[in-house]
C-alpha cells in the first residue's frame, strides 16, 4: 500500500509527538471503557450521576420547603427545595420521568403562575446531559421581558463569535479545495481533534488553557501534516480522481469520528476552565471566553490574510490555487505548498475546535455538527476563495444565531443550510467566487 511506503517519511519528532498523543488517547479510552463496562448495579456509583432538579423562586427570592415528586419506571422520590430554593433528585437511569410539584407546600399567598401546570415530563431522549432541570414559575410574572432590540444585539454578538470560529475552520477547507480540488469531508474531524485535545489538556490534565491552546494548535498542525503525508499525497501520486478522494475523505471521517467516540464516549464534556464570567456591555452579556475567542479569531484571521498576500509562500499558495500547472511551470514546488496548506488547515481547525469547545461543549461529533455549516460558508463565499470563506462564515454565523429570533432554536442549522440552497439558485459562484469555478 502506498500509505505504508510513505509513512516512513514522517520525520521522527512528529512521529514521536503523535505516538505520545495516541498513547494518551488510548489510555483515556481504556479508562472510559472500564467506566462504561461496569453496568451491573452493584458498581453503580462509577457511572455518571443522573439528576433532575430545579430552583424555586418568587421574583428573585428563593422559596424554601416546596415539595417536588419525581416518578417514573417504578422509581419515586420526593425532594424539598432548600434555603436557596434549589431541589434535586438523583435518578437511577436515563428514562422517562414525570415531575410533580405539590402546590399545598407553597408558602401562603404564593401560587403557581399557571395553576394547571403542576406536572412536567422528562423523556428518555432528553438525557443528553447528566442533569435535567425543570422549572415551575411562581407568583406574578415580574421578569423583564427583554426588548426585541436587546435580544437582537445579544444574538448579533453570538452570531459574530460563532461566525468567526466557523471562519477559522472554513479557511482550511477552502485552501485545501483551492490547491488540491478536494472537498474534505473529514475537516470536521480536524475540528473535533482540537476540541477533544483541549478538553484532555485543560480539563483532564488540568493545564492552564493558555498553555493548552498552543499545544493543541501544534498537534493539530502535526495532524494535518500527517494526514497529507500518509494519505493524501500518496493518493495524489496515484492519480486518484477528485470524487474518489472526496469519498475517501468521507470514509476517513467515519473512521475518525467513531474512533473519537470509542476513546471518549458519547456524553458531552463541559469545558470548565474559568472563562465563563459574564461581561455586561449594555444589552449584551458575553463571557470572557467568548471575548477571548473573538479576539484570537480576528488576530489569526488577519495573520492568515497577511500570510496569503505578503509572504512568498502565501503568494505561491494563491498561485497554486489559481492554476497548479502554471505554478509548477514557474518553479513553485506544488507538493510543498499543498503540505503547508494542510499544516495551516490542521492548525486553524484545531484552534476552531478549542473555541467551539469554549463556545459550546466537547463531544465526539462536535466538528461534524458544524461541518455542513463550514461547507455552507465556503460555498456561500465562493469555493476556493479565502476571503469568500471569511465573509460566508460570518453570514452563516449571524444567520444561525439571528434566525432563532423568528424560528425555533432547534431549526437554526436548518435555516442556514436552506440559505445555502437558495444562494446556489441565485448566485452559484458564491458571494466572492469566480464564474469559472462552477463548471
Amino acid at each position: 500500500m502506498h500509505a505504508g511506503k510513505t509513512s516512513g517519511l514522517v520525520p521522527r519528532p512528529v512521529a514521536l509527538v503523535l505516538a505520545t498523543l495516541f498513547a494518551a488517547l488510548a489510555l483515556l479510552g481504556v479508562g472510559s471503557a472500564a467506566a462504561s463496562a461496569s453496568t451491573d448495579p452493584s458498581e453503580e456509583p462509577s457511572g455518571p450521576v443522573l439528576s433532575i432538579g430545579g430552583i424555586m423562586r418568587d421574583g428573585d427570592d428563593p422559596v424554601e420547603g416546596v415539595e417536588v415528586t419525581v416518578e417514573g419506571g417504578g422509581f419515586s422520590e420526593v425532594a424539598t427545595s432548600d434555603d436557596t430554593g434549589r431541589w434535586s433528585v438523583v435518578v437511577p437511569e436515563e428514562g422517562d420521568y414525570s415531575v410533580t410539584i405539590d402546590p399545598d407546600t407553597l408558602p401562603d399567598g404564593l401560587d403557581l403562575r399557571d395553576p394547571d401546570r403542576t406536572t412536567a415530563d422528562v423523556t428518555a431522549a432528553e438525557w443528553q446531559t447528566n442533569t435535567i432541570s425543570r422549572l415551575f414559575p411562581l407568583g406574578e410574572d415580574t421578569r423583564q421581558t427583554s426588548g426585541f432590540l436587546d435580544l437582537f444585539m445579544q444574538r448579533l454578538v453570538s452570531g459574530l463569535n460563532f461566525g468567526l470560529l466557523v471562519a477559522l475552520a472554513a479557511i482550511g477547507i477552502t485552501l485545501i479545495f483551492g490547491t488540491t480540488g478536494l472537498n474534505n469531508f473529514a475537516h470536521g474531524e480536524l475540528v473535533t481533534f482540537g476540541g477533544i485535545l483541549a478538553w484532555v489538556f485543560a480539563v483532564l490534565l488540568g493545564l492552564n488553557i493558555f498553555i493548552a491552546i498552543p499545544i493543541v494548535v501544534i498537534l493539530g498542525a502535526a495532524f494535518g501534516y500527517v494526514q497529507d503525508t500518509v494519505l493524501w499525497r500518496p493518493l495524489r501520486r496515484k492519480g486518484v480522481k477528485l470524487v474518489q478522494a472526496m469519498i475517501v475523505s468521507i470514509g476517513l471521517a467515519l473512521l475518525l469520528r467513531y474512533f473519537y467516540l470509542f476513546m471518549v464516549g458519547g456524553g458531552t464534556k463541559t469545558m470548565n476552565v474559568g472563562l465563563s464570567e459574564a461581561i455586561v456591555l449594555g444589552p449584551v452579556r458575553i463571557t470572557t471566553g467568548s471575548v477571548l475567542s473573538m479576539a484570537l479569531s480576528v488576530v489569526v484571521l488577519v495573520g492568515v490574510a497577511l500570510f496569503l498576500t505578503r509572504t512568498r509562500i502565501g503568494k505561491a499558495t494563491r498561485a497554486v490555487s489559481d492554476n497548479a500547472a502554471l505554478a509548477a511551470a514557474s518553479g513553485i514546488d506544488v507538493d510543498r505548498i499543498i503540505r503547508i496548506v494542510w499544516v495551516i488547515a490542521g492548525a486553524l481547525a484545531a484552534l476552531a475546535g478549542v473555541m467551539l469547545a469554549l463556545y459550546r461543549q466537547v463531544s465526539w461529533d462536535m466538528g461534524f455538527q458544524v461541518l455542513l455549516l463550514m461547507f455552507a460558508a465556503v460555498t456561500l463565499g465562493g469555493l476556493g476563495s479565502a476571503y469568500g470563506a471569511l465573509v460566508g462564515s460570518i453570514v452563516v454565523g449571524l444567520f444561525v444565531e439571528l434566525s432563532t429570533l423568528f424560528i425555533p432554536a432547534d431549526l437554526k442549522y436548518a435555516a442556514a443550510l436552506i440559505v445555502l440552497i437558495f444562494v446556489l439558485l441565485l448566485r452559484p459562484q458564491g458571494i466572492l467566487g469566480r464564474r469559472e469555478r462552477i463548471g
Partner: protein, 326 residues
Amino acid sequence: MDWGNILGNAVGELISPTTAAYALAAIGLGVHFGYTGLLNFGQAAFMLIGAYGFAIPTISFGAPLPVAVLCALIASVLFALFLGIPTLRLRADYLAIVTIAAAEVVRYIVTTTGLTDVTGAANGLSGFKGTFAASNPIPDGTYGFGPFTYNAYDWWVRIVGWGLVILASVLVFLLMRSPWGRIVKGIREDEDAVRSLGKNVFSYKMQALVMGGVMGSIAGIVFILPRAVQPANYTTGLTFFIWTIMLLGGAATIFGPIVGSMIFWVVLSLTQGVLYGAIESGFLGFLSTTQAGQIRFMLVGIALMLLVIFRPQGIFGNKKELSFSV
C-alpha cells in the same frame, strides 16, 4: 462463544428486510451515481421522506395502503425536483454539498419539537403497520426452517421487500439498455458531448434524480416495516452506508447493490457477534459492547476508503464503466 447463534444471525441478514431496504436504496443511488454520475449524498433524506410520507398519512388520516405509498412517492418526487433545480446545472460537487445539506435540513425539520403532533419529534412514529399487515395473504403462524424461521408478518415484509428489489433491478436493467439509458450513461462519460448531440442534459439528469429518489423512498418504506420511524436513523451515516454498499457491489451494475447489501449486513452481523462473544467470554474484557458497535463503524470507514482507492469499480464492476469524471 455460541458460533451457531452468531452464524445463524449472520445468515438471517441475507434475506432480512433491512438488507432489502439498503439494497433498494443502493439501486436508486446506482441510478444517480453509477449510471448518471450524480453525486447524491442525500439518499438518507429520500428514505426519510419515504418513511414519513408513508407513516404520517397512515397515522394522521387513516390513509389506505396505496394512498399512503402514493403520498410517499409524490413527496420524494417533489424533493428531487427541489434538490435538482438549483444544483443540476452546476459542477458535480455542488450537488454533493447541497444534497447532504438538504438531508440534514429535512432531518432537523422532522426532529423539531414544534412538529411533535405530526412527526413525533425525536421519538418518531409508530403504529402505522396496520394497513400493511392487513394486506398480508399469509395465514397466521410460523414458517421456515433453521435461521429462516419467521412469523407471517415477517415473511410478508421479506417477500414484499425482496419483490421490490427484484422489480427495481429489472427496471434498471431494461432502462439502461434503452436509448434513455444510453443517453444517461453518455452524460456520465461526457456531458458536453451529449449536449452537442442536442439532448437536454438537465432534463435527463433530473429524470435520473427523480427515479433514484423514488427508489430511495420505497426503500424508506421497506426499512420501517419491521421497526418504528426514528429520526435518528436518517443521519448522514445512513447515506454513507448506502454509498459503501453501492461501491462494494459495483456502482453501475445490476447485482452489485443486492450483493453489496448482503455482504455488508452479513459482515456487520458477524463482526458484532464475534466481538460481543469475545467480550462475554472475557477475551476482550476491556471493551464494552457499545464500543464494539463503534468498532464496526470504524471498519465501515476503513472499508469505504480501501474500496474507493483500490477497487473503485466494486466486486462486479467493470473499470471502464465507472469513471470518476471529476
